[in-house]
Symmetry: C2
Subunit: 305 residues, 2 copies
Amino acid sequence: MSLPQDIRITDVGPRDGLQNEKSVVSVGDKVAFINMLSLSGVAEIEVSSFVSPTWVPQLGDADEVFTNIQRREGVVYSALVPNLKGLMRALEVKLDKIAIFAAASETFSRKNINATIDESIERYRMVVKEAKQSSLRVRGYISCAVACPYEGPIDPSRVRQVAQQLLDLGVDEIDLGDTIGVAVPTDIELLYDELEGLLDPSQTTLHLHNTRGTALASVYRAMELGVFSFDASCGGLGGCPYAPGAAGNLATEDLVYMCEQMDCQTGVDLEKLFAAGRHITAALGRSLTGRVFNADGEETRTGNS
Amino acid sequence: MSLPQDIRITDVGPRDGLQNEKSVVSVGDKVAFINMLSLSGVAEIEVSSFVSPTWVPQLGDADEVFTNIQRREGVVYSALVPNLKGLMRALEVKLDKIAIFAAASETFSRKNINATIDESIERYRMVVKEAKQSSLRVRGYISCAVACPYEGPIDPSRVRQVAQQLLDLGVDEIDLGDTIGVAVPTDIELLYDELEGLLDPSQTTLHLHNTRGTALASVYRAMELGVFSFDASCGGLGGCPYAPGAAGNLATEDLVYMCEQMDCQTGVDLEKLFAAGRHITAALGRSLTGRVFNADGEETRTGNS
């Protein structure tokens, strides 16, 4: 079984993480957090979202955040864009990539973006066209790629269908999201089995939540299948602050630890990542849920004589 | 890749979990906890340890606990036994299995049981002989099977050597322990590669701690290799109460969730396991660290329409 020799990490903490925290973080703290992430070595940072501040007040300052962060050579800076209005805002701040977000569940699509899946694809058609004309890369998210909070398990064939629709629009990459954190390794296998012929595992990004502790097991199975691009969130941001350890994105630190121990390079400096995590959790007034962060200071495999 | 169709779970919470908690739990609470675990469907329960109460005051009541629990048909009840004196105590309470504990690290062996590895094997020789004469099954633990808190990484060949010594003593099973919770899937692979010809993966039990969040990924890799016997701890007991989520055994609930979702039977009823976890964590005055327990009430894959 050969695993990838390196993986590519997109830290979605500033967007998917902060969007799901109760507290609103100041522009200054966000900028400092993102700058620290830039220094940590992650390949890409999902900085914010250009959705209406009415929907997601936590990210209402996307323009200001983008204007103030320091761009580091080689790091890709991206943001969610829901429509042409959002794209116009995005174009003003000069980012590298936008992400549009479809779902594999009709109910989730309607509840999340008030459109059927087909309507959402149509809505994104002009967004992708305009983005490409401005030389922006486009990521196409597929939410509920394993299960939906309303419909339950999602048949992988529905994911394939939406992936096909997004590829037809001209997106550069497909990001498969286990939105509610239920996936186990066999789900990952079934998903990529179904995508065969349309998308090779190495052409996708996997976005996992660690709600039930299974995210790293699913990452490992995905790596066996050839996936090397993963989303994660510094400090496991994104969980409910009232149930520590309960939900949240896969913690970037845990992903980095596992991969590096398997001789798979991530390019990330854990200490610098911890610094970013300490900064943002102090700003949120909560503790980090990542296991590796909390294990810092425990016995390590390098020995403590 | 074919996975086992069912796994066998030993809940080590009452022993490995409680031994590493600062608080001492009353006999009554332990008995209630173990009775609840018996009803949950786990195959085996490591009830306590017959080491000297001077060493492990948390488990000084082993005899009383064993006398008061209700044995459930089909469940195996076991305990750690360090020497002949401990075995005499164990024989009085009528258990099904004892466990002796060697290590793959010389430094850990000396610090943990004040004996070299070879001395510990000699010490156990009579214990195993007497236990077998009394028709007890014997588990042989190998601590630090991946890394040692003092020596760092442990060469798998040292694990093989100790496994051979334990098998020569006549133990019925070998339990490989990642004592400090550093293992990643490739460590598991290397370990079983080294054991080839001596022990098939299906003949071992794997004992993982989730200190760095990698335990389920390692379980998954082990299952691919044919391992179907795992230790876990109800509620993820065993962590430091001052760093929630930091350390602790792999939570039984998380193991059960992952396996059942992969159509691998565990025989465990999660609701009954949650009840046991709620009981013991209330007694300890702490919260459960298992992810699945904390996800209870979140959206589930079965839908909540």
